[in-house]
Structures are given as C-alpha cells and as structure tokens.
Symmetry: C2
Subunit: 378 residues, 2 copies
C-alpha cells in the first residue's frame, strides 16, 4: 500500500467531481449537449479571469497559449519587452526569438520581482515596444509580480500587457479588466484543478487591434479563428471534450467557493508553509516577493536537495518539486495551489520533517508542523 | 431515461478501461511513474503506426500535428503538393498558405480517390515539390486513398510523403515504414478510442533531413524539441497526463486484439453498413473508394438530411454525422470506427430505419438490419 500526495505547482490534485466527470461516456462536440457545456464554461471563465470579455479555450499546454499571444499580437521584426526572472519568464523571449520578434529583456535576479518603474522606464526609452510580456507567478522561483502596478504603467503606452498567469490564476488575485491586462493566458493544471491539456486566453479590445494587424504566420493558434468559432459557441478544431466537461465541474466548485474565499485559503496555506519552513531553520528563496502559489525554499548546507525530493516522493508518496534550470538541487518547491487545503499542508510538512530528520538535518521534530498549525488556528 | 449511442467519425466511443483510467488521481509528469507510462505508449504507438521509428505525442487536436508536419518540413516559399478531395484535404493547403508555402493542388472530385499516377505526373513536372500532403481517410466523404501506391511513387522523388491518418489509423491498414510514409499524423479520438486532445506524429530519416533544414518559425510544435525530450522519455511541455494514461489503456486493448483482427472487424462493420444502406435503397456517396472507417450516404430525394441526423440524435440518442461544407444536408455519415462492433451497427441502422420510416421514406422496414445481419453472420 502506498498513498500519493501531490504538492507540486502543476499538476495539482483533482477534486473527485472532476475525476468522475472524465470517466463518463464521451459526447460529440458539435451537439446541443456540448454547446450547453461551452456556454457554461464561457461564463465561468469570465468570472475566474475577472473580465467582461471572452476567454478562448485552446487544446494545448499553457505554452501553446503563450505562443498564441506572441504570434497573434506581433509581426516579425516587431519589438517586445520580456521580463525574465526565472525559467518561465525566459520562455517569452524564446518564443519571440523563434518568430523573429526582437525581445528586449529585463533581467530580474531570480527570487526578486520586476520593478514596475523599470518597465515604465523601458517603455519611455523605446516607444517601438508593442507588447510587454510578464509572469503572474514565476513557478521556478515562487515570485509573484505586482501586475496591478505594471498594468497602470503599461496602459499609458501603446504597448499591450500580456500576463502568463498559467501558475496563479484562480489561486491569487488577478483582475484582468481592472488591472488593464490585455492578454491573460492560463493553463488547466494549476489553480483550475484540472489535468493539463487545456489553455485559456483572454483578449482586450486594445489587443484585438494588434491581432488584426499582425503578420506573423499562424493557423492552429490563430485567435481570429478562435473568436469566429467562439461567437457561435464552437471551437475551430475538435476540442479536448473530456477536459472541457471537467472544466465545467471545476468552475462550478470555484463559483460556489467564491474567488475571495479561494484567495484567502491560498494565502493561509502559503503563510503556514512559510512559517513552517522558518521554524525548521530553512531559508525562503524569495522572502520579499513570495507568491501564495508555491514556496521555494533553499536546500540547507550539507543536504542533497535532489535526494530529499526523491525520498519524499519515491519512499513516502509525497511529491513536491525540486529546483529547475540553474536552481537544480539548490531549492525545493512546496506548492499550495488548487484542490489542496490545511491538512494536506500539514501532511506535506510532516513528510518533509521525516526525511530531513533521516538526512541528519538538525531541527526540532514537529516544529514545522506546529508553526503551520499556529497559522491555521490563529 | 435516454441512452446515447455514438456512431460519429470522431470522437468515437470509449472502452470502459479508458474511461476508468481518466478518473484516477492525477500523477506528476516528471516522475518515474509517468516515465513508465511514456515508455509503454512509445512502444504501443510504434506497433499501431507499424514503424520502427519514434512516434511523438503532442498535446493538441489532430490539426496541431498537421501544422507541425508542414512547418517542420518546409520553409516559406517552398512548394508542396496538396491532395484535396474533401474538407480535411483542404486543410493541408490552408496551413501551407498561412505559412507562405506554395501549395500546388490536386483537386480530386469529392467522393473519388486521388490517382497515384497523377501524383507521379505532378512530381515529374515540378521537381521543386518538397512534400506531398495526403489523407488516409477523408472523413468528410468517407473515401480512402491508396497510400501504398502513392508511397511507391513518392519514394522515387526528393519529396517526402505526409499522410493525415487522423481518421483511419488503428482502424484500417497503414504500414508507415513499408509503404514509405515519411510523416504520419494521427489524433486520439478516432481509431485509438480516446477522447480528443492528443495528436501523434511519426518521422522518417528522409523527413528529419528536411526538418533540420526548415526555416519556418515554430516553438510549441517544434519537432526538434519533441525529439530531444522524447530521447529522454519526456515531453518538451507539460503533456495531457490523463490522456496519455488513457492511451496506455487503449493501446493495451489494441495490442491484445492485434491489428489484423482490428482491421477485419472494421471491414466487416463497413461491409454490413454498406449492405444495409443498399438494402434500404440508399446510394453510397463514394461507391468506388469507400473506406472501412466511415460510410457517407446520399440523402434520398424528398428527405431533409439535417432533420434526419437531428431526430436520430435528439429524439433517440443515436448520434451519426451530417454532411460538412458543400455536402451539408446532402449526405449523412455513419461511422464504424474504434470501440464499436456488430451490435452497435445493428442498433444504429435500426434507428436510421425508424426515423426514415417516420419521415415517410419508402422502404421495407427491417431490410437494412437484415442485410447487415447477413454480412455479420455470413
């Protein structure tokens, strides 16, 4: 017997209603039955994105929606400003480069958040910048950006603001319309409590102007085709039907909980996790701009970080994430996002303590769990 | 109470093992558990594709894999030969056009199959053609192409042969290696008995040469990235985990049945369906090149084709497909592909008879079912 606990920043655990919905006999996508589902999720996505505009569904990983944002907005030789302070921020510039778009980079130290003033400065210095690409929560470092302030800066320029909210949407606040986010992209396997396979993209009027003018080649990810189909409650290509039906179930749960409750649950879990790490004498990787989505923790001196994650997972069934790219072996990442709550966090911390103890790290057994309990019961 | 029967050319019904597998708690994709699944499906896909080479998995509709084939093989201003004799054949030229690739068209009359000699003639007339894009089974008309003969023609040229086998793979024979198919693309929701959301693409050595030379922009669908990850039993982006796990279940069933048995089951169902239609006095849309995947039938004079399909579906729960594009209202399409067998066909024909009878079409009630039974029991 081995029970599995998932505390990773995507995929996140699935609610039982979501699991059940995917085991139903499949229905055809061009039927009144499926159109009713599409109508329901269209409304639910607007609620989650906090937008009055449409949110299109793509059948792809989150990266597909990122590519859709880049190629629909910009033409070859256009200039974009890309904020990078982690593995996922770097992806924006990689996509731009693949399509011959000039990527001006703001290189943020990993573990720090970008300064909205820096974005303002860059926009003023180079009026040719047509789009600013940012990340809501940089999953590789656990850092959250101040999208509200960035939005207030970008809205005064001709550039559009694009936010990769793959990690974070539906877990921490992002007011697409009120914060002047022109394109918000997200994925299914994070705050939305679904398996991976769907991505989502909202588009403002300011963004549509650029989309209609873009000369970049596109077909599968052409947002003009997505809009044309969506206006008739349809998709241009066969959608991932079971995942869309599961999305309807997840959105039902989220609407019942309400965004405010969801955000405060995530904040509580993040506070508890951070308190636990500090009580264990561990150092947070991003103490000044920590997101409520995932907490990156420095691996203490003398401990093999990759072995820690591997032992928790392969011996005890508790999956957290290790470090990526330049942080490999240097941090571990403890996610508190999606269908996770208080007692999952306690379980995860208790497993972390068990393995740290076995690895001869010095700390008071139980101190992490107790610190988390104090937050949850405070 | 209303029971649903699915006789559409994608999605096709799901085996209970496939349904069940998608309701399991999700696992993380960068774990030994998931790598074991990837290894298993890598072998299973080679068996289904009848290739010794790797078959990559993309998280997208089948169209995504078609786009991957075009942009990975060809650079802007290159020339391709596109066979079009239906809605899906037209997609090849549309994708080429979107990426600035010259598409030379072979316009085949809808309902007829392309002549391999015509392809040979075109290749000889224009040595600049770098790729030939074809369709195994044109779902909109029910026509199957003679890929074996086409392959024997294309192999003598510098061009690569690309086959859209989205509809048909795992239902009718396609020997990727033996028939000299350089790129074979398929989707999950047809012969493979899965929900939509995954696509598959096999690549020959001849194709890899062109892929490494292509200058078309690409990121999400870059096959070089897919290969690099696949060589380490991984995917470049988060895959649709539940669908990959479901794929393992479907491939297990298919390997147990064996390709020969699967193909003969499909042939029997197609023969029975065609016999039933003729016994009802209905005319086949593609009598000379009918596939064993889906049968397109002309709507008889005086009958409203759209109403026929709608009544079968909305009143009786039996979903068949109507005509697409220029065939809207003029044909209906009765699929016999995937997790469908003898008694599903009988059920579907009996519903067709019920509605035709209600619509005052003149025929002997029971004649269609009986003709199908005779084939199944012959």
């Amino acid at each position: 017997m081995r029970k599995n606990y998932l505390l990773t920043p995507g995929p996140t655990p699935l609610p039982p209603q979501v699991c059940e919905s995917m085991s139903r006999p499949i229905i055809h996508h061009r039927t009144p039955q499926f159109q009713a589902v599409l109508k329901e999720v269209a409304e639910g996505l607007k609620y989650i994105f906090q937008t009055a505009g449409d949110v299109y569904i793509l059948t792809s990983s989150g990266t597909g929606a990122m590519e859709a944002a880049v190629i629909n907005l910009l033409s070859p030789a256009d200039t974009a400003l890309c904020v990078q302070g982690g593995k996922f921020g770097e992806r924006w510039a990689e996509i731009c480069k693949a399509y011959g778009i000039n990527a001006e980079i703001i290189d943020v130290e990993w573990g720090k958040a970008v300064s909205p003033q820096e974005i303002e400065k860059r926009l003023k210095a180079n009026p040719k910048i047509k789009a600013v690409f940012t990340t809501l929560c940089e999953t590789s470092t656990g850092v959250a950006s101040d999208i509200e302030k960035i939005g207030s800066v970008v809205k005064n320029s001709d550039a559009v603001l694009v936010v990769d909210a793959i990690s974070g949407l539906g877990a921490i606040d992002l007011k697409t319309d009120a914060w002047n986010v022109d394109i918000c992209v997200s994925g299914s396997q994070k705050g939305l409590m679904l398996p991976p396979g769907l991505s989502f993209i909202s588009v403002s009027l300011k963004a549509w102007e650029k989309i209609n003018a873009s000369k970049s080649p596109r077909y599968y990810f052409d947002l003009r085709a997505a809009k044309k189909a969506w206006d008739k409650t349809d998709t241009p290509f066969t959608p991932a039907i079971t995942l869309v039906i599961a999305l309807a179930e997840a959105l039902k749960i989220m609407r019942q909980d309400g965004l405010e409750n969801i955000f405060s649950r995530h904040k509580k879990m993040a506070d508890a996790t951070r308190a636990a790490m500090q009580a264990l004498g561990l150092e947070l990787f991003a103490p000044t701009a920590a997101s409520d989505v995932v907490t990156a923790v420095k691996v203490p001196v003398g401990i093999d970080g990759e072995k820690l994650v591997k032992t928790m997972r392969d011996t005890y069934g508790v999956t957290i994430a290790g470090g990526q790219a330049e942080l490999k072996g240097k941090v571990f990442r403890f996610a508190h996002m999606g269908f996770i709550e208080e007692f999952d966090i306690i379980a995860g911390i208790s497993c972390l303590e068990k393995v740290l103890n076995q690895m001869k790290y010095k700390f008071d057994l139980g101190a992490g769990v107790k610190a988390a309990q104090e937050v949850f019961n405070g």
